[in-house]
């Protein structure tokens, strides 16, 4: 009967509609089959995921190797009291391991397993001594963001980014509106001007409007992302909870943190607001949503979050390593003067002496690189290194020597002639680069890093 129904209507469809209907039917059937054939269970110490009808696929993930866990509950999930569960995979190929819908109760159970089961060993890696673990409370809230914090976060957000985002959205929306209402950009712009008494006033009003809209957009973004934000500490790791419409939960075992960084833009630096990031395995090149970030509205909170990994170094007591001045010269030559010469000759044909505007570019590069060179600091002690860098804003990071996977030294012709080198320290969570330090320093850092990795027999991370 269904077939006959379709047949009677079939004549009226054009081929394009048929294809669309066919494809959507196919995708519905496919997802139902996928749903029916999806299984997951925990067998001994492995999490097993089975999927596929035609091509069968089985993923088994040893529970001990699970890195960070992400639990996401969109509004659709919350209707059915379910959640999406995904894991960071440690493999070099990025196999995405996720369970699209798991009941809330099961997700909760899983969370408990990751965060609360007894730490597997209290044996100190250095000495082999068993340490009596102090009694740690099951879950201790470290940071909870209130309305005031959210307000400060919204005010100090990157308004330029928010404005561009909104502009892109607005332009694409306008494009569609134009198709519908046959409205032209010019008419719209004229309309805006006709509203203000004269043109110069229009130029004054527009930036103010732009700033206001940007602040509103930033506020909404901050609210959606960080509403009801809280981070707590359990015996095995951090537990992060946030979100207004889509609720995100992240579980980060302490032992899987490769290094920690925190950064602030120019304004936030002055307000003491930082965005701290836990770099877990594979977090480089991972999509923005899965990164583990914690907004900090009081800089005294930073040591609290660092403690399990490594306390911040006592930077005032350690002599810092600086980048060599030659870095500025080199960067200005490479990124400003050479390109300006290459681009300047043909541009002179078209624009004449307006080409001299390229000097402005050279100045910008010179100032920014020289600020970067002057502000860069590297501190080291026997267990960790700490880097502070930035031009207007600032980024700091702490990396423990034993989390380094491999090390490399790089020298260009220019660096060779000045006895300088760049060091790359590769970790499982990303690469840390120390540019343009003197060759003896570079060699010392590299040899020390290798010594620290090789003296330990138990790799701390090995995904």
């Amino acid at each position: 009967m269904v077939i006959s129904l379709f047949r009677s209507k079939a004549n009226k469809f054009d081929p394009f509609e048929m294809v669309v209907i066919g494809l959507s039917l196919f995708s519905i059937v496919r997802s139902i089959i996928e749903f029916l054939y999806f299984r997951f269970y925990i067998q001994q110490d492995d999490l097993i995921l089975k999927s596929g009808f035609v091509t069968k696929k089985t993923i088994s993930l040893p529970l001990e190797k699970i890195q960070a866990v992400h639990i996401e509950q969109t509004w659709l999930h919350s209707i059915f009291n379910a959640a999406r569960l995904s894991f960071d995979s440690a493999g070099s190929e990025k196999i995405e391991v996720k369970i699209d819908a798991i009941s809330k109760a099961e997700a909760e159970e899983f969370k408990n397993f990751i965060l609360h089961s007894k730490p597997d060993s209290n044996i100190d890696a250095d000495t082999g001594l068993t340490i009596d673990a102090p009694e740690i409370p099951q879950e201790q809230v470290l940071i909870r963001l209130g309305a005031n914090d959210l307000f400060r976060l919204s005010i100090s957000a990157n308004h330029l980014e928010a404005f561009l985002l909104m502009l892109a959205f607005f332009v694409s929306a306008l494009d569609q509106l134009r198709d519908i209402f046959k409205l032209e950009y010019n008419q719209f712009v004229n309309w805006v001007y006709s509203q203000s008494p004269n043109a110069s006033a229009g130029w004054l009003v527009l930036p103010v409007i732009a700033l206001m809209i940007s602040v509103i957009v930033s506020t909404v973004r901050v609210l959606i992302r960080y509403y009801d934000f809280r981070i707590s500490r359990t015996p095995k790791g951090f537990h992060i909870h946030s979100g207004l419409i889509n609720i995100q939960e992240k579980l980060v075992p302490f032992s899987k943190i490769q290094y920690i960084s925190w950064k602030a833009n120019w304004l936030r630096k002055r307000m003491g607001i930082y965005l701290l990031q836990f770099h877990a395995i594979g977090s480089q090149g991972m999509n923005e949503k899965l990164r583990i970030k914690v907004p900090i509205t009081n800089s005294s909170m930073i040591p609290l979050l660092l403690h399990q990994y490594h306390d911040p170094l006592p930077v005032q007591d350690i002599t810092a390593v600086h980048i060599h001045r030659a870095f500025v010269v080199r960067m200005v030559l490479m990124y400003a003067i050479y390109p300006s010469i290459v681009a300047g000759i043909p541009l002179y044909y078209f624009f004449g002496w307006k080409v001299l505007w390229l000097l402005a570019w050279i100045t910008v590069v010179a100032i920014s690189r020289s600020l970067f060179q002057r502000r860069f600091r590297l501190w080291m002690d026997e267990n960790a290194l700490q880097i502070r860098r930035g031009v207007l804003g600032t980024t700091e990071l702490v990396l423990r020597w034993d989390f380094i996977q491999s090390a490399g030294m790089e020298q260009s012709i220019y660096q060779r002639s000045h006895d300088l080198a760049t060091i790359h320290l590769h970790t499982a969570g990303g690469t840390v680069t120390i540019p343009y330090i003197t060759l003896p320093e570079a060699r010392e850092i590299m040899n020390y890093a290798l010594y620290k990795i090789e003296i330990r027999h138990i790799p701390p991370s090995s995904g």
Partner: protein, 176 residues
């Protein structure tokens, strides 16, 4: 095991820069030259086809430009392979592998055995013809952290692999 925390003399640490590195097999130079020849021939054929079929005969300057670009690519590529071949070297230490590469920008990469996840030996048709192979070492580190040494004798490559696998087994009693 006794707990100890004695100060370390940085100057007494083993120095990566003082290791004598082993150059790769001279016959690998032939492989690189053949690869160079194949690439520039393919480029020449492609450029010739473009000139013959697409560009009108009277545009001599455009034909000349393409020819100049081809000559430049051919020369620079040749200098690149010859210089980087000369600089390429490797070394095995008790606890890590060193690899030296580069031409204009020179690299020295060091990969400790304890951090190697797996390693593989690879030999393409050209390399096989000369009895050569290359070895790749993979760590858990992000991209750029893996190490590849080409132009080894097939026996050397498999010996190194055996050696590393042995090291991984003995050095890693328990992984987290």
């Amino acid at each position: 095991m006794q707990f100890s925390n004695t100060a370390i003399d940085i100057a007494a640490l083993p120095k990566a820069e003082e290791v004598t590195l082993q150059p790769i097999e001279p016959s690998y130079w032939k492989v690189l030259q053949i690869e160079w020849l194949i690439t520039v021939t393919v480029l020449a054929v492609a450029a010739g086809a473009a000139i013959y079929f697409i560009i009108p005969q009277n545009k001599t300057w455009l034909i000349a430009l393409i020819a100049i670009i081809w000559v430049l690519i051919t020369i620079i590529y040749y200098i690149f392979i010859s210089q980087s071949f000369k600089y390429r070297a490797y070394a095995l230490r008790e606890k890590d592998v060193l690899s030296r590469t580069g031409w204009i920008i020179r690299h020295l990469e060091v990969c400790p055995f304890t951090r190697i996840q797996h390693c593989s030996v690879h030999a393409g048709p050209l390399e096989r013809r000369f009895g050569l192979a290359s070895i790749s070492l993979y760590t858990a580190g992000s991209e750029g952290a893996d190490l590849r040494i080409p132009g080894l004798k097939e026996e050397t490559a498999s010996t190194i692999r055996e050696f590393i696998m042995q090291k991984i087994k003995t050095d890693e009693p328990a992984a987290h």
